[in-house]
């Protein structure tokens, strides 16, 4: 357990030192995970909203499938992306393997089902209140989706944060498609995995604390935006 005290001290001095390598890794982590979160919000919120408002045969099956896909293992996603992007794979000519783009693709695939499933639930709950009024207004499906997304935006922020949390904490997919290459595709989680395998548990933990600090910072910013917006908003 002395490792833990050591780790805290180390985390503080790591951050204080402003070490260039660490900054590079932190920025890449943020870039990859924020981009993946943004992309999966674009797709997932839309899909979630469409699932929430449409009724079609097999809808329950789709919902179950999306819920189940929240349990998609990162390693499996990593492998699937690897097989596509590998030189031997169908998209190998793009040369994307072992690049941040590949990591973004993998994380996007991983968290889109999470954003979809959770936003579907949130929007369906809201829609149960609005549905008849919307039908009375004869809104198109697009108008309904837009109205729901807008009126549920504060609750959906929590959904987006869940997606971001999964992305920033994830290691299994990015290490397969990114390769944890120093100065190229090393992110916080792969660096932590590396230090762990080197047996440097204190440094691994210190990096973990730094990662948590980053996640916290992102959440503080989001919450700040939310609170500022709510102050001008309508219950």
């Amino acid at each position: 357990m002395q490792d833990f005290g050591e780790a805290v001290g180390m985390a503080v001095s790591l951050v204080a030192s402003g070490d260039g390598d660490l900054i590079e890794i932190v920025l890449l982590s943020l870039r990859v995970s924020l981009t993946a979160t943004a992309l999966s919000c674009v797709v997932g919120l839309l899909l979630g909203a469409v699932l929430a408002v449409t009724r079609f045969r097999g809808r329950q099956a789709v919902i179950v499938a999306v819920n189940a896909l929240m349990g998609l293992p990162p390693v499996v996603v990593g492998l699937l992306v690897y097989l596509h992007l590998s030189r031997a794979g169908p998209l190998g000519f793009l040369g994307l393997l072992y690049t941040p783009t590949a990591m973004i693709i993998a994380q996007t695939l991983l968290i889109t089902p999470i954003v979809t499933a959770l936003s579907r639930q949130v929007l369906e709950d809201l829609h149960s209140e609005y549905a008849e009024q919307f039908r009375s207004f004869c809104l198109s499906r697009g108008q309904i989706v837009r109205a729901l997304l807008w009126d549920a935006r504060y609750s959906l922020l929590t959904v987006a944060l869940a997606g971001f949390g999964r992305a920033i904490a994830e290691v299994g997919a990015v290490i397969i498609v990114g390769g944890n290459i120093d100065h190229l595709t090393r992110v916080m989680t792969t660096a932590i995995a590396l230090e762990t395998s080197k047996g440097d548990l204190a440094l691994a933990l210190a990096l973990g604390l730094v990662l948590m600090a980053i996640a916290l910072a992102v959440n503080v910013v989001v919450q700040g935006v939310r609170l500022t917006a709510v102050r001008h908003a309508y219950a």
Binding site: Q133, F137, A233, Y234
Partner: protein
């Protein structure tokens, strides 16, 4: 105010309802309901709580599908395009989580109405000074005003009103009644649910009396109030209808 979009095709009246039935949750809530509403004016729908008045408006507006029977508006079977030419003010207003103005704008935009109508509409229902307020923080009566303003914003040919003045103060009740009378005079067919016998006497051209999901009486107003055909209607008007 949006004038009725009379140009959008042949008239929606007369309304013909034949053998209408509705079963929900294993219960037969409406059965064998026949109704013909033609011409112009204001039809009052009255009847005890749970009679099926709100369900009937939903059916007439195409929000729920009947389990039996047919609804024809001016010869058109119920369809999305019929719904589009009507507006329904719900018994419980469902307001968006936005400002009062945004609630009206939302409808104007969705229905490609003229955005400049908003202020006139809010003024008409007496909400000009609340335009910027969160709609869901309004008082009960103020929320009903927003609901009416939104319904008028769609420029309907048929206006379905479900107890729209239940939470209004006496002055506003008069205001609403005159708005609705004006609207009817401009050719909009109004079907109006109310428990207020005085209001019904003031407003109705004809009265439909519902009981347990059936039309018990449908008469011109004068005849209904002065000489109801049935003991049920008589008891209802007198406030001594025993369930």
């Amino acid at each position: 105010m949006a004038a009725p979009a009379a140009a959008s095709g042949p008239s929606l009246v007369p309304l013909k309802v034949r053998g209408l039935g509705l079963a929900l949750g294993g219960k037969q809530l409406i059965s064998g309901l026949d109704l013909t509403i033609g011409g112009q004016g204001i039809t009052m729908v009255m009847g005890p709580n749970g009679a099926g008045k709100s369900l009937l408006l939903r059916l007439l507006h195409g929000l729920i599908a009947p389990s039996a029977g047919r609804i024809c508006w001016g010869g058109h079977p119920m369809s999305a395009s019929v719904t589009r030419r009507q507006a329904l003010v719900f018994q419980k207003p469902v307001l968006l989580r936005r400002s009062v103005a945004a609630n009206v704008d939302f409808v104007l935009r969705a229905r490609k109405g003229d955005a400049r109508q908003r202020d006139a509409l809010l003024d008409r229902v007496g909400l000009s000074d609340k335009a910027g307020q969160a709609a869901r923080l309004l008082s009960g009566g103020e929320q009903q005003r927003v609901a009416l303003a939104r319904a008028l914003a769609t420029g309907p040919e048929v206006l379905l009103l479900d107890e729209p003045t239940a939470s209004l103060d006496p002055t506003s009740v008069h205001l609403f009644e005159s708005i609705i009378r004006d609207t009817a005079r401009q050719g909009v067919r109004v079907i109006f649910v109310s428990h207020d016998v005085g209001q019904a006497r003031r407003m109705a051209d004809d009265v439909v009396f519902l009981h347990r999901g059936r039309v018990v009486e449908h008469k011109p107003a004068k005849g209904f109030f002065d000489q109801p055909d049935t003991e049920l209607a008589r008891a209802h008007l007198a406030g001594r209808l025993v369930m």
